[in-house]
Symmetry: C2
Subunit: 242 residues, 2 copies
């Protein structure tokens, strides 16, 4: 692989560092996906074009058609990658949450961790976040249960809510539809902070996140949160990664 590579004579026309390894790239498909993801990260889904990705990799636009049927497919691949990164962000928070012998505290902590992972990804990678949720008319990937991977963000949320039922915090009755309420709340915060509430001071944003989480968890329970539980949630959400 590495031997026998023809570096080639640098023609006068080729000024940039492109075309380093001449002709056969070796892993063009993945290189293009990475380029597409970079474009998405920098300018959102609208910036993902075959021409720009090819340019970035140092290859002719035509070459991309060996690996993708068209622009849709490249964008789709970038979307998959962005979704994987969102999932990563959530599972990492989940794995890092503090242990607790109190099962309710632990379950509430899990829910908070998921929200944190979601919101910090949206804040850190607004372009990728927008790419995940870019819809032009594609079917609802999040809902196709067949091919939904077990660590899909939505699946993680479902498990977390089920856990809250299992530990006796959440009643079956209030469990209904709570996945949509939870998702909507956290998604709404993410979207508004990247849009009309962009100018909101960081401290206010953080406080809004905390209070939203508290209000939601409070609303889920028939008895309401105990002060200790409320403190837990407040602390959990305050540690939102910048």
């Amino acid at each position: 692989m590495l031997a026998g590579v023809n570096i080639g004579l640098m023609e006068s026309s080729g000024s940039a560092a492109a075309r380093k390894r001449s002709y056969h790239h070796g892993d063009l498909r993945n290189a293009l996906i990475s380029a597409a993801a970079t474009l998405a990260a920098e300018g959102g889904p609208d910036s993902v074009s075959i021409r720009a990705a090819a340019r970035m990799v140092g290859v002719t636009p035509t070459a991309a058609y060996r690996h993708f049927a068209g622009q849709d497919e490249l964008l789709g691949a970038a979307k998959d990658r962005a979704l994987a990164e969102l999932t990563d962000s959530m599972t990492k928070e989940l794995a890092a949450r503090p242990k607790s012998s109190d099962p309710i505290r632990y379950a509430l902590g899990s829910l908070a961790a998921l929200g944190r992972g979601y919101l910090s990804f949206a804040r850190a990678q607004p372009g990728l976040f927008r790419t995940v949720f870019f819809w032009e008319g594609a079917p609802g990937e999040f809902l196709d249960e067949e091919d939904r991977p077990p660590n899909n963000p939505f699946q993680l949320l479902l498990s977390s809510l089920d856990e809250l039922v299992a530990v006796g915090y959440l009643s079956q009755e209030r469990r209904r539809m709570s996945e949509y309420t939870a998702w909507a709340m956290v998604h709404g915060l993410a979207v508004l902070f990247d849009g009309p509430l962009r100018e909101l001071p960081a401290e206010t944003r953080d406080e809004a996140v905390v209070q939203s989480m508290v209000t939601f968890a409070h609303g889920l329970s028939a008895r309401g949160l105990t002060p200790a539980q409320e403190n837990l949630l407040t602390d959990e959400m305050r540690t939102l990664t910048r």
Copy 2:
């Protein structure tokens, strides 16, 4: 105005019904804004272009530059219009809400009405809704308190929450940040229903709206909702306009 209008000889080239009134249009600026709003309604903010709007009105693209500095300004005007329609949808629901002698019921009904107006607009006019919240780097119009009109959606929400404090439903403490929680929840629902949850059956969507509203209102009150209040909210949100 209407007299002395030169209909002009129809050249062979002009096949469409364009150029009805020949040369001076009379109200080109507004015509272009309406065209831009129509484009936004049909294809979202990305579809708003000077060329398309001019074409729709039956005028040369250049003519638009008499009335707008550039595409940004046309899009801005379309955005203003879309925002006005969103505001309309909310104030109409507010005006139509049932009277009640119980001030808490009335205040909760107002909050529900605002949510209803927001969500039904998003559902009925997804293109305009997306246009309102299209951000490329513009400042936060919703937060500039100086020129925020009194019937701005956000202002309506603030008033409604203040009312809930005034009637004794909501404590000062829980009032803090609740405008962001409320907005995020309802905005999240609107956005998800137009995106990843697009395939959700209509009944499920409606139920998710109801349960979100109940959970939120429940979470706001230290005591929780009474069964009667919960029923009220459920009924209020069920009547969501299709």
